[in-house]
């Protein structure tokens, strides 16, 4: 992990009278895994959508620090995967390359098949999203994210709706592919404290701002009072700090 890669300064977003993000600051280190935690409906997905450009912040700047490109290669893994129902797994993974890059059919097949092999989706390549399991859908969505060799992948609650076993396999998958492909991860998750096992730092979003940013072990050792209850009711009785 090295210096700051992505810098968010004064990000504000409101929907009507409701303030979702309120002059939020956040630093994302290069090749790190940052997990954004917080209560439901607090604005975690809105933050991810602002970073990816799906939503435009009302105020503030998002700037890159250590990238050769002015616009980083983003990939976004949606909560419900957002796979195209009318395309099979192969076509879904191939979509970004097929639509944006000048690649021959042979080269495209080679690249997509490599990803399919690495993700263990060989038997599902010709199947449609409706014909495969939740875990396979996650892997297909990850494959689609990986094919364009992104610098940053944004994960919006990637384990929603998965059983505990699948949940851990998705976490393992994210960890191993991050090591293999070397991308930066920003993840929104409710799986606390399980997600702390794969994350480098935790950002706690509350009332539109990042109230805590740091390594997960520090957070577990001395959580702020308000966060202690969110993390674990048992933790809040230990030794909370203000």
């Amino acid at each position: 992990m090295s210096g700051t890669f992505l810098q968010l300064r004064g990000i504000s977003k409101r929907f009507g009278p409701q303030v979702i993000l309120d002059a939020l600051d956040l630093d994302i280190p290069l090749n790190s895994h940052t997990t954004v935690i917080g209560r439901s409906g607090i604005g975690k997905s809105v933050l991810l959508k602002c970073i990816s450009g799906i939503l435009k912040p009302d105020a503030g700047t998002i700037s890159l620090c250590n990238s050769t490109e002015s616009i980083p290669q983003f990939a976004y893994m949606f909560q419900q995967n957002a796979l195209f129902d009318s395309l099979n797994v192969f076509e879904n993974i191939a979509l970004p390359l097929r639509e944006k890059e000048k690649v021959t059919t042979q080269n495209l097949s080679k690249q997509v098949n490599r990803i399919i092999d690495e993700l263990g989706l060989q038997n599902a390549a010709k199947k449609y999203p409706s014909e495969i399991s939740g875990g396979m859908k996650k892997r297909a969505a990850l494959g689609r994210a990986l094919i364009s060799k992104p610098e940053i992948i944004l994960f919006d609650e990637p384990t929603t709706g998965l059983d505990p076993e699948r949940k851990f396999s998705v976490f393992d998958m994210i960890r191993s592919y991050r090591q293999q492909f070397g991308f930066t991860v920003i993840m929104v998750s409710h799986d606390v404290p399980e997600v702390f096992g794969i994350t480098d730092q935790v950002a706690w979003l509350d009332e539109g701002q990042i109230r805590y940013w740091g390594p997960p072990n520090e957070l577990l050792e001395s959580p702020p009072v308000k966060l202690a209850g969110f993390l674990n009711p048992k933790l809040s009785t230990d030794k909370p700090t203000s």
């Binding site: 990939a75 976004y76 957002a82 796979l83 639509e99 944006k100």
Partner: protein
């Protein structure tokens, strides 16, 4: 009351502006993407080929009814021999483009609106954006160009079947002279009449495809209820607005074209 009326008026003008920008952006984005031919072919199949049966059936029955009605009117003036002319001009200039457009909206337009609406709800449009793929170019513009190709062709099918339907009732059932039926059509229908009909079909094609795609694309903003009911709401609105757009623009176009 005036305040409410004013607000409604302003929001209507804003929506009209958004619709125009949406349509222009969709038209302009076709060539900013790959695999145009493949997408266009698929859209032509969805809008054109799949609408052929309904167009032919409605065209035939419209011609049959028109033959019957006009025969009844023309006999009052002892002018049954003008039946071919009356059927052909009514169908080519007015009924053909309007009915064809309404049929396509019912079948392909509603499907387009619902499909894009579901894609919006399933975050597939957001996914396209994050992949740096222009959603308008990918989802809307092939359909818009396909509509420009299919609407006039389907209108031509409707016209031919409709005129033949008029022939069936007028000549085969009611005894109008066959030679008179066809010769009157030949004499009365000019190339301009046919071109005017196709101009209407093209206009309806653009209007209805843009309206249906727009309603689906902004289903999250336009529907008062989220989810599946929201999609059903915007789909219904797409069909209603398209039908109103067809009939109101038909009036304007007819006024303009008849003046020439």
């Amino acid at each position: 009351m005036f305040v409410r009326l004013g607000r409604k008026g302003i929001s209507f003008v804003i929506e009209l502006g958004e619709l125009t920008i949406f349509g222009a952006a969709s038209l302009g984005s076709l060539f900013h993407q790959r695999h145009i031919f493949e997408k266009l072919t698929r859209s032509i199949y969805e809008i054109g080929v799949r609408c052929i049966p309904v167009t032919l059936i409605v065209g035939l029955f419209t011609g049959l009814v028109l033959g019957l009605q006009l025969y009844y009117v023309l006999t009052k003036f002892s002018s049954e021999s003008l039946l071919g002319q009356a059927v052909a001009l009514s169908i080519i200039m007015e009924i053909g483009p309007v009915f064809t457009a309404i049929m396509i909206v019912g079948q392909a337009g509603s499907a387009l609106s619902a499909e894009i609406g579901i894609q919006r709800n399933a975050e597939q449009i957001d996914a396209l954006q994050t992949m740096n793929i222009n959603p308008l170019a990918f989802l809307v513009s092939p359909r818009l160009y396909a509509a420009l190709i299919c609407f006039p062709i389907l209108t031509a099918f409707f016209d031919i079947v409709g005129i033949y339907g008029g022939h069936l009732t007028g000549v085969s059932m009611l005894g109008v002279d066959q030679g008179a039926y066809w010769s009157r059509i030949y004499e009365a229908v000019s190339v301009k009449n046919v071109i005017d009909g196709f101009c209407k079909a093209l206009t309806f094609g653009i209007l209805t495809t843009v309206i249906c795609a727009f309603q689906g694309y902004y289903t999250h903003a336009k529907a008062s209820i989220p989810g599946a009911r929201g999609v059903s709401q915007t789909t219904t609105r797409a069909v209603v607005l398209s039908s109103i757009a067809i009939l109101s623009s038909d009036y304007l176009l007819t006024s303009l074209l008849l003046e020439k």
